[in-house]
């Protein structure tokens, strides 16, 4: 069964235009990741409607290649101008930029490409090996478990991200609420439509994603002063030396890739967290080497291997339970659903060959990243100097056209504009965008599973407590929600509360 699926996956990957979409996705991703202020979320949101004409596997491979490419691309600006192209490359600046200033820019860039490729490849191979076990786990889950895991995902995001828990829960619940507009999953009259036919299908979650991740980001970006970098970049140093440095530090590279993978698998955490934790672990295991922070190549390896390892990790909860680990995987989840690929048993049993083909594409993508990184990207560094003010109107135009192109419905364009503004204010005041997006995307699935569970139990909520897995999930949700209150009680009794 697994062998057939693997062969079928390879067939999907090598036939038709799939490899072409993979290459396009990687190039677009690397360019978007390189330009400070943009990033994978924007690239994925804008590309999402354009995948409408593609078949499911090609569309997801294109999107996932943009994601993977952007993870690597972020390091280029981090190394050359001390400004990470994406948050995932923030820790790369700590040693990458000092290396560039010491005349070792080429070496740092090739370390970044090699470590990204090796860290990413190891984590994706592990994911492929883990898939049969994941399938077993996924098939153990039924409607009550899927409803609870959606709630658990939102709850977990609120404690993982560096934001207020109440803000996160409120944002997630508001997302769930807005997903109820339109015809209900269960039979019944339309909800919150004001008798307007245009609202019967509800808000298109793709339009909401485009609004938040494209328009909201642009409103934020235009307000940032001095967004032009005019640094004179001197590309000196040796690429070969960079490859040798990564080969001579296999433990740091592989360990960092796995740290990224593990952290990526936790909903709400992502590469923006994993690169710092991996960097900290490299410093710790290096015995507090004072060279860290002043051009130690292991610092670049740790950060870059981790952020590409995160991509594979983040696919575990996204594909198996429909719980994205980051904004990028939330959009990816939207892409899966747009193309009729539902996470869970459908991806791990009925369409496991498609799932494997996506994983193989990521593996091939990591090899391509290495080649592009070593031979082409180092000659395209001028991208880091592009003034984002020129990009803003283009992104807005492309986002609006893409939203209208979803179904020719003007509601989608206004959804993009409204949620762009709303998303901007959420970002400005530190409300969890991921929790909100997760609520909107997962709302229909969560509701369907809730209704089905209650139908199975004749309306009794005991169905969420009378089996081991639902019971554990319910307890975990309770623990996540109650833990901040318990910490207050603890600090009060310890006398540390103010």
């Amino acid at each position: 069964m697994t062998q057939d699926s693997l062969f079928s996956a390879i067939e999907i990957l090598i036939t038709g235009q799939t490899i072409g979409w993979l290459l396009i996705g990687l190039l677009v991703g690397i360019i978007i990741g390189t330009i400070p202020g943009l990033g994978p979320n924007l690239g994925l949101a804008v590309a999402l409607p354009l995948t409408m004409r593609l078949n499911g596997p090609d569309a997801i491979i294109l999107l996932i290649s943009i994601y993977s490419g952007a993870m690597y691309g972020g390091s280029i600006a981090a190394i050359l101008i001390n400004t990470p192209g994406t948050a995932a490359a923030a820790a790369t600046t700590l040693d990458g930029y000092p290396m560039a200033r010491q005349g070792r820019a080429m070496e740092a860039l090739s370390i970044s490409a090699t470590a990204s490729a090796v860290g990413g490849a190891f984590s994706i191979i592990t994911l492929i090996l883990l898939t049969p076990f994941l399938t077993e786990i996924v098939l153990m889950f039924g409607s009550p478990e899927y409803f609870l895991i959606a709630l658990f995902g939102i709850a977990l995001i609120t404690v993982v991200v560096q934001e207020s828990m109440v803000k996160g829960l409120t944002a997630g619940a508001f997302g769930l609420l807005l997903s109820t507009i339109g015809l209900p999953v269960a039979a019944g009259q339309p909800r919150y439509t004001f008798d307007m036919f245009i609202l019967y299908d509800g808000l298109d979650f793709v339009a909401v994603l485009i609004g938040i991740f494209a328009i909201g980001e642009m409103i934020k970006l235009i307000g940032e002063k001095g967004s032009i970098s005019n640094e004179n970049i001197s590309l000196s140093g040796s690429s070969l030396s960079g490859i040798r440095k990564v080969i001579s530090a296999p433990i740091t590279t592989i360990k960092s890739g796995y740290i990224g993978m593990f952290i990526g698998a936790i909903p709400g955490s992502g590469a923006s967290i994993s690169n710092f934790i991996s960097y900290a672990e490299a410093v710790r295991s290096g015995g507090g080497d004072k060279e860290y922070g002043s051009g130690n190549h292991r610092g670049v390896i740790a950060s870059e291997a981790a952020n590409n390892g995160t991509v594979a990790g983040s696919l575990i909860p996204t594909f198996s339970f429909g719980i994205p680990g980051s904004g990028a995987t939330a959009i990816l989840l939207g892409g899966l659903m747009m193309h009729g690929l539902r996470p869970g048993p459908e991806l791990f049993a009925d369409n496991v060959n498609i799932t494997y083909s996506i994983f193989f594409a990521l593996l091939v993508g990591n090899i391509v990243i290495l080649l592009l990184g070593l031979f082409i990207i180092t000659r395209m560094v001028y991208i880091t100097t592009i003034d984002t003010n020129y990009i803003i109107p283009i992104v807005i135009v492309v986002a609006s056209l893409g939203a209208f192109g979803l179904s020719g419905n003007w509601l989608d364009v206004y959804t993009v504009i409204f949620f762009g503004i709303f998303g901007f204010f959420m970002m400005k005041h530190n409300y969890s965008i991921i929790a909100f997006v997760l609520g909107i995307v997962l709302g229909p699935i969560a509701e369907e599973n809730l209704v089905r569970s209650l139908q199975l139990s004749d309306g009794s909520f005991w169905i969420f407590l009378n089996e081991p897995i639902p019971l554990v999930l319910t307890l975990l949700i309770a623990a996540v929600v109650v833990s901040p209150i318990l910490s207050v009680v603890r600090s009060f009794f310890n006398g540390t509360g103010s």
């Binding site: 600046t93 700590l94 619940a173 909800r191 235009i222 940032e224 002063k225 640094e231 900290a280 492309v398």
Partner: protein
Amino acid sequence: MINPIYNSMKNYVTSEVLMLLGMLSVSSYMLVESFSFSSESGIFPQFAAAVTVFGCTVLLLRGFLPKPLQQAIVESDGIFNQYSGGSQEKFNKTNVDYDKNHKPETHNENVIENDDADVDSTKQLLLVGLLTGYGLIGYLIGLVWATPIFIGVFAKIFNFSWFDALMVVSIGIVAALAFNSILPVNMTNGVVF
């Protein structure tokens, strides 16, 4: 008498408060309305709306909560912070130091500034206005024809050179025509023509 009240209102009514009031109004309406649905259709919106109403109320009233509760619930921090070994703080500090103090020896550089204090809200407001205008004009004459107008006005307001403006408008037109041909929707028509 009026001034202190006005000042305290002005301090309290921030954009966050307005956003929360908006969310509270929407969720309260949806909560009330959900009781008119059948039990199967109503249970999920009731649950989601109740959590939203509760959360918005707590956030709006957070100033009145006891300090420890406020810190734990409203100002809680990410669980991964303790594991980053201070490298995140180091990154923030490095960037601040770099922004403030770094005098390049061989480089000529202007550095990106992401500090909240340096946010230009006038530009953001202008962009929101332009965006709304783009949506409206697009509705009237079709998005393809509204695109060069939007980018042209954007370029004028944000002082692009003629050459840069022409380049960006051209890219916008190409993108609009490409979307019009790729996606299965006609974007050249609006309600006027």
